[in-house]
Symmetry: D2
Subunit: 438 residues, 4 copies
């Protein structure tokens, strides 16, 4: 009996983390085959990662058979799990997602605002193709998506692909749990947080330690003590007033929405000094791959943690383990709302605590949104629907509406300028928009 | 440190089961104190049960301190759990609930139809008083209600008492899981069923064995093989057509709604031959208490199982264990909908799979109701709201509307006759209706 | 400029009423062309009606050009309004709809219960074909449907045909307004009633006379004084208790649901004495057509009023007049819910007060359903969805579910027997069910 | 028989418009008594307005008896209609609402953003008092509220006062209809617009001329031709892209949300040149009252139109006329949603086309919000709920949440600064906040 994992975007610098995760869980989750897949442009990186992964497995003494290939359809045969960690257009495209909005006075970020919208535009059609392949070739396989914007991408796949076994993961809930554990000086396993909202806009509404409610203690400390921003986003802290008035634990991405001016200022300064985050990462990745090449490296180097998406792959491995073993434990993933938040559409994707079963995640009911943030959450969800619609239709008006209805861009004249420049810049990766002849 | 359980209605013939359940779980759920409480009228029975319970504990060698009393408020001091298994008006009242509707050509049953409505009318005010006491005296205690109609009673408490730590339990989901396990020849622990609906009107929509979907296999066998009716209700079987067309696993109570004429016929025949079920049970209880009296009886006698509500107490013990230990396992209980079924009000009580935590049950989202039964479920829920309203207002028009909107009674003229006779018969236990001077 | 009306089912005995209505409204609604269409089987009747209609127009001195034909597609050319009053299978089919359920101990009625379900099964596919033709040939025409079950048929057309200009009408709201006016001794034009629910299950929640609320006065009198049952259904009256407790004005069809046993008894008696209503009507129609043939008859004979559907056509004429003139007056029609009752699906068809405009009816918001009847209304609407689904799929399980989920048939075994017998009896008119080879 | 109107805030410069409206409609709406009421601080203005009103009535030769008083409770006796046009704190308070936000870099406007929030904070408690008086003294009277923010104030009254006969009016829908008529070169009476949303955030979704849909024609012209900004707000025009992409007719207030930067720039410039709008209006009012004093002035002077709220009173008079006569015509007012927009709470107040009856406005169902704006509308409505909550609780955290959840202020740090400064500045008019001892 085989247990096969296909890593789409296998040449990513994150892959060693996923390999490490698989090795670590081998006893309960005995993967027999791993195939790393990538596109032509990533061939060289794929080779480097493939060799490092082989060395890691060799050292682990586990009976895992690992190969790599550019032939995706072949790789998918008999797959049980397919993880996705792709970046359509590479870091160059990301650089444009950051640069162009910044140059118009808007926040330029890879998963929020104009940058996030365009990452969605480029990614959704490619992953819809993948999902179709999965559905044809290995219809029982679960797609574990950690390609950003993870929530929007997962909703697009669940709504528009024939394949319904798709789960989105993000490291933010994981990070919030770990940081909170640190604040309270307990072990992360003892902490559970009740979440409300969706990917990159999720709030913690309750913090429990072994079932005891310690929310207030966390909220009191969060303004000064908490630093759970991943490496790729700022950490400006929160006023006591905001935390007290909402009674909620924000996530780092909320800074974009509630500290817009300050974040923009800081980002512009960083941009002037170091270029975009994409460019910083490009350097970082260069060094990482140099390290990866080292034939005497047999493990995930600790430099990877600085990369920004730390723990993303760990979250994914943990999820696959629970599905495989029908563990029925609670994990926070992106899946159908299914009524968990009755204010949002039943087929919306939310980030929600779920029981993880062999049949996938079953969301735990959250109940009505608190008045303090329900307006914002509803608006963000409506915005996400607009992004998905535009990603698929390639309709200019849809793209424009998605832009102007985003709170970071809500300017009928200026968001058109950014839109036009981004459409031009990313033309090669937006075939669905090309019919309009830009 | 103490762990105290108060059993309200401690003189019930079921109590030995709860004592057995507590003893069996002692290692994980180390109860230190049990107080059995009952009312004056049940004094003698309480004494018999108390002595039997003491012998059971003695034999078990567990350090559990058990007493009994008629002083409820005193009993509640420092309680951690309060279970309720009361019967306002005793079996005599039940006999009227069965006899009077039958005499008008309606199904007479203690939890459905006219009988269920009047059991609710008698019970809700009494348990609201209890809940108020609990809230005053031991505000951190959980009320585990297994007084019928369990779903309606639980909704009444959650909506109208200040105490919100209330959970309702029923043995039907437990029985369905066990019978299904038998059909599939697997262990009950391996089976999980996805439920939709509410107490006494719950359907199984999916049957999983260790996470594998084996629903179709069960549905095929259910028409001939399945017997999961508890002792107190008929078992007429189901047509293949009904099961196939709905794709759902009905529960025994559904016979009242979809086999009304046949059930009524059978009940009338049984009534002629043996009197009401209440009367049968009265005899049964007489014998049981004779057995209980036996000073050399040190365990729950197996005759108890014929009593009808078997496993009710076991379900309750299992629930308390999981709350105490923050087990986060899945159990089927009656609690706030909280959005789990977005078609029903958020504050409706449904019977639903929940994660059981120290903070109580968290329902797993069920999603929209299937079209085939959503009309019925919605109607039953609206009917339940009417019953609760009438229980509290004591308003004649509310009581009448509750009657006439129940599918078993939907007759504007004849349900008035039954209503009037039942109001008269139960007058002593319906102070809230007395102002109208019947 | 032309204004053309096509009457589908033009050979119906009701047609003289519609002709009279057109003539009477000629000044404001100047119809230039009327085409009566029917099927081969109705050729003779069509001829009789056509000649009578010509005489009526001749006497009126209006410039209306009337013809009749069996060629429906040709008739539709340039139509502005298309009214439908068809009976698939004729009165013989209706006789079976009444006879077969009665023989199984269920109410046999042409628009409710098993009969109504089968009338829907036979009618919906035929009218979907018509709607497709209308959409192709005269896409701007309004279909005014008064073929029963009018609400279900209208919902089927709006949901499943490409043509969205469809409005359903029924004479019940009209009759309720007129009877209420009589009770209050005022003119019908002065009365407006607020309605909640859907066709044949609509309640009056408020009665206004020139805007003054006189609901209580009507409710008090309704138990003895009111007779607004049309000729085709019984009139057993209502108890004071029902009216008081609900605070609503029921419609005659509600007797089927709240006086089931009595109606059934009365219907069985009538059946034994006079055969089915269909058979009574068959005789009535025979006489009517004899009267219609009289070459010196130049007007709608008053015998038509006994026929049962009186004022149906008048309601339709009044509706067309208001659309044509963008009158923006209030009429009660069957159209999209569109949120008017937020408890029901937005695309459900309800019977609701609307502003009648050139763009069709705009429902006036009704608000949440009163608790007393929301369960029933929701259930009836879910039942209607099942009927429509089965009408289109021709799936046996769907048909069975529609039957068993109807409150008049809710018996898992016996409703299968009625279903099978009706499917057999109506085989010739149910091509969609034929693939299962009954 | 009397017909009495009480004008609360009768010393307002708008009052001559209302007097003129009453005189003009005298034949159909024969007001017999008018009482102008104001507070001590407005005594002098009240006198001037009173005398002018008397001269206007005298000239009209209508039998209207007009008086003025500072005794509100006495004035309310036997009132049929009570209109409200008050400004708590006068133009000085308005000046602060504009000045303080501007000084922090936020839009300072009297009905939107921070200014609107504080106008609500000051106004709601005062009008709740009035509504209580009305309920006590003249419970059958309709309150016609045109005090801003009209939508929020109306929702607060309907939710929190015992008096439910309250309707809010605004001149924006009226202006949109008139400007659209001008664009299409037709008479305003021929135009009807379908509106979606709420006061100051309402969109036109369809423009009909005598029932013909001419929306596209209007949308095409709106970018260059349309000027329906009232005197008090900017008019920057709209891009073709915005109009095309949304397919909706925005209202002038939408500029604050979709042209924020440009409006702010323009407002800051205007502020530097002319001071706040409040100060401009103060001058304007000074001149107006000079004109009003002229004993030979017998009519509303045309200078009043420059004042900003033109037609507000006309809208109110027209509404009262339709209620009085049960006209059942369509007017756009602020009232309970009542399901008209199923996406919004049933008890939210929306700006919606209604049938105007003796029993008040009945909203015409609007249906689901278009995806393009549903996020924004939902957010604004949630924000409004927060404002109302804070107005009543006087809770600092509620006030802060209302601020930070407003799209014009969404900055967790800076909106606190504005909040604190405004709370300080308006302290005298915010007794509900005073307990916190600022």
């Amino acid at each position: 009996m085989t247990l096969k994992l296909v890593v789409v975007g296998g040449g990513s610098s994150y892959t060693p983390e996923i390999i490490e995760g698989i090795i670590r869980r081998y006893d309960s989750f005995p993967v027999t085959d791993i195939v790393l897949v990538d596109v032509e442009a990533g061939k060289e990186k794929l080779e480097i990662i493939g060799r490092l992964a082989l060395r890691m497995i060799e050292k682990s003494n586990k009976a895992i058979h690992l190969t790599w290939t550019l032939n995706r359809r072949q790789a998918l045969e008999n797959a049980d799990f397919v993880s996705t960690q792709i970046r359509v257009g590479g870091l160059e495209a990301r650089s444009k997602d950051e640069r162009i909005p910044l140059s118009h006075g808007f926040i330029g970020q890879e998963t929020n605002g104009a940058g996030g919208i365009f990452k969605a535009f480029r990614t959704i059609p490619v992953l819809l193709e993948l999902a179709k392949d999965v559905h044809d070739i290995c219809p029982n396989a679960w797609i574990i998506n950690f390609t950003n914007p993870a929530g929007i991408v997962t909703e697009a796949l669940l709504k528009h692909s024939p394949h319904k076994k798709v789960i989105g993961v993000c490291n933010i809930p994981f990070n919030m749990r770990h940081s909170t554990a640190e604040i309270l000086n307990v072990k992360p396993d003892e902490v559970s947080i009740e979440f409300i909202g969706m990917n990159h806009f999720v709030f913690g509404s309750k913090v429990l330690v072994n079932g005891e409610d310690r929310t207030n203690e966390v909220l009191e400390k969060v303004t000064h003590d908490l630093d759970y921003s991943p490496a790729n986003i700022v950490n400006l802290g929160w006023t006591k007033t905001f935390i007290e008035a909402t009674g909620l634990l924000p996530n780092p991405y909320h800074q974009y929405y509630f500290q817009t001016a300050d974040v923009l200022k800081k980002d512009l300064k960083a941009f002037k000094e170091n270029g975009t985050r994409a460019e910083v990462v490009q350097d970082l990745e260069g060094s990482l791959f140099e390290i990866y090449k080292n034939p005497s490296l047999y493990e995930k180097p600790k430099e990877l943690e600085e990369r920004g998406g730390a723990f993303y792959s760990d979250v994914a491995c943990s999820l696959m383990d629970s599905i495989y073993n029908n563990k029925q434990d609670i994990q926070t993933v992106n899946t159908w709302n299914h009524g968990a938040i009755p204010d949002l559409p039943e087929d919306a994707v939310i980030e929600v605590n779920c029981i993880i079963t062999k049949n996938g995640p079953k969301p735990i009911a959250v109940g009505h949104l608190p008045l303090s943030v329900k307006g914002h959450i509803y608006q963000m969800k409506a915005f996400e629907e607009l992004v998905i619609q535009a990603s698929i239709t390639g309709n200019y008006n849809d793209a424009y509406t998605a832009m102007v209805m985003n709170p970071l861009l809500a300017d009928e004249k200026r968001s058109k300028d950014v839109l036009d420049e981004l459409l031009e810049a990313h033309q090669a990766y937006l075939p669905q928009f090309n019919s309009r002849g830009i």
